[in-house]
Amino acid sequence: MTVQREQLEADVLIVGAGPAGLSCALHLANLIKKHNGSGAKPELSAENIYVLEKGRELGAHQLSGAIMNPKALAELVPDFEKKAPLDTPVTDSAALIFTQKSSYRFPVTPPPFNNAGNYVISLSKLVKWLGNLVESSGVNIFKEFGGADLIYEREGIAGVITEDKGLDKNSKPKANFTPGYELRAKVTVLAEGPRGSLTKQLVAKKKLDNINPQIYGLGIKELWDVQPGKIKPGYVAHTLGWPLSTKMYGGGWIYGLSNNRVSIGLVVALEYQDPRFDPQAAFQTWKMHPFLRNILDGGKLVRYGAKTLPYGGWYAMPRNYVDGGLIVGDSGSFLDSQRLKGVHLAMKSGMLAAETIFEALKSGDTSSRALKPYKDKIDHSYIKQELWKVRNFHQSFRNGLLDGFVLSAFQEITGGHGLIDPLRAHPGFEAYGKIHGRPEPERFKGDGKLTFDRLTDVFHSGTRHDEDQPCHLKILEPNVCVYRCMEEYGNPCQYFCPAAVYEMVTEGAAHRLKINFANCVHCKTCDIADPYQVIDWTVPEGGGGPNYEGM
């Protein structure tokens, strides 16, 4: 279909209203205000900064544990302690080893797990608050609009095309059809979070990959209201061990929030061997541990969600500047996989991008040469300081926990170098072993009180999509699913998806992959973990997706 698109021009277009994108917008608006106030030329305007957000509301797609190191927020909003919704400061940080029946606390909490000075927050609430500051600074935030395609120009990008609205499930226009806008900008900032769909296109097209491929973890979270006295606000625990095998990289979290609310979750690296491993079921099983059962008993599930996070660190960081474009936040690998902290690094990356863009707008040059200072600023900031120390950390665990502890101990005493530097990584999906005809495992059902099946959990994510729209999960080669994947790997998509989107259905002798796209919680696991890389996650009609209020 050829459609005429309306064009709109901006100075700066930011794709994604998360911590990175909003910090970029707010910092830039603040710099512009100061610049214009001093009478300096050329005059700039915060109103020429646009932010796109695919969620229904600010914060609707924000999910994290979350513990936040406040240092970037302190730079951005100096009086944040009075204003920001921080929930509660960390009061106790424990590291626990789980076996099926017992738990052991490390007598001295290892430094990476020590969270003194940090806050337990709801990332969704923080982002909503930050978004309001951004809007009152004059920046335009367009909610319910996603970036569907990039506009390529020079050796980089010149804006995005937003998604078409009002197409039916056969891609035919409905009465409310509105073609996507062609949004052009001098600088486009990709702040899409982990595995951004535009970032993926750009990195592939312009070959921006670093020496290591990106490795992802999948975090599955539930928010519970528990009986009074079960957990102290600010109590923070990380668990290792059961129910994950020592060959798997991952662990659980238990964070006490105010008002008897608790955030629990399990993170698993998407590089495990068993293609029928079910992360949602593992999370539910983990909740059956006596330690958790005791906290949750008598409580109530409030909300569910899932999101991936980039583990790859420094050596997986794509080149983050091109002509007219920058990559910030999780899209750009700004996460410390040892401490599992990314919010402050995402925010800082957004702020450094803002400083770079500010200079580029003043000079009128937005080529990659003018945007390269972004990379230099990162190298001279605490982002590199923090990420450089752990540059080989995640890779050490490729062969399991025991190797990982030994290797990372060497790195700890050599400033991150360890035995081999750089330690190479492999794409996570390469780790799958074949099923060799093993029968399908039984699916986890849940008891409906402490543990839940996937559909019940998805219900609690508040996910909604207009059902009469084209499926946004594109299978590039549908034959692979039926003729190869089924036999070789047993269709892992049926297991790794925490929202029960993928289902292999049998009709007589024929098999077909059924995609319940309306369940999709936008975690991107399918795009990452498919063994043949034939699933392409694209943006659905804006406004669709989960509702992570309070997450």
């Binding site: 309306e6 709109l8 335009n140 367009f142 909610k143 319910e144 609009f145 806008y181 059902k445 409906g448 559909l455 019940t456 998805v458 219900f459 909604r464 059902e467 009469d468 009709e507 059924k514 319940n516 309306a518």
Partner: protein
Amino acid sequence: MKILVVTEQRQGKWNSTSSETLVAAQQIAEAASGTVSAAVIGKGVSSLAAELAAKNLAEVLLVDHDLLENYTPDGYAFALKQVIEAAKPDLVLFPHTYQVRDFAPKLAAMLGKGMIGDCIGFRDQGGKLVFVRQMFQGKTAADVTFTGAPPWFASFQSGAFRADLLTAHAGGKAPVNAAKVELKAEDIRTKPLELFKEAKSAVDLTQAPLIVAIGRGIKAPENIAQAEALAKALGGELAASRPICDEGWLPMERQIGSSGQTVAPKLYLALGISGAIQHVVGMKGSRTVVAVNKDENAPIFEIADYGVVADIFEIMPALTEELQKAK
């Protein structure tokens, strides 16, 4: 500036956005010192033209032709092209209706012009006419203006101007002049059929006292007839859980649950429905729930008043038969 408003009527009744667009034209004429004419198009519409003549207009153009009795995009475009070429307006305004969306871009293109559609206002900016239209679902407004020679084309959104501000003619009546148009039947490629009123949704499940709902247990579309027969014997409506409607085995309007309808009938007979929470939220208000499912652990039994652990393909025909006997 000469402004021509193309009004819209259907079967002798005004489309109310027409008056609003006339108001827009009067206000533009005031700001840009111009005149407003209005065109009435159709067959046997002279009384409508006379009605318009009482308004503050320079002229009413009556475009009356046998071939304009029913709307066709070709008929309207060919007729109006001739009207515009004869009247030579600078600005042609339309109400932004479905019909206008259909023919106006075609008409503008025939004259080699662009069109600014769906405007919500205008501004006179130092002698230059600027139109305002919404973008990003009303989040922002864009100023758009014409380049090139007139005539210019624009349409106004319904509700953008207040129809009650339409001013009457100061000195009696505006002249009504017939506009000559030549149309040939063979030029009109679309053949209008009888107008139809959109049928109300064929089924209103929320009002049904008895509902027979099917789920994945029905297995194949050809089995739906059995459930349909049972629903008929009961005098109830057929409904389904999401997977059935997803597959297109039943229309979406029969879907019960969080992404479908919410119902509270006297009797809800759930056949082969597992009872995922997404479905249950749509029917938990039912007075009596009867569930049939092979899986005794199916969550539907937790909310069912009566539960049968059985194969629905045994229950459905037997129940239908008994109901028919009892009649």
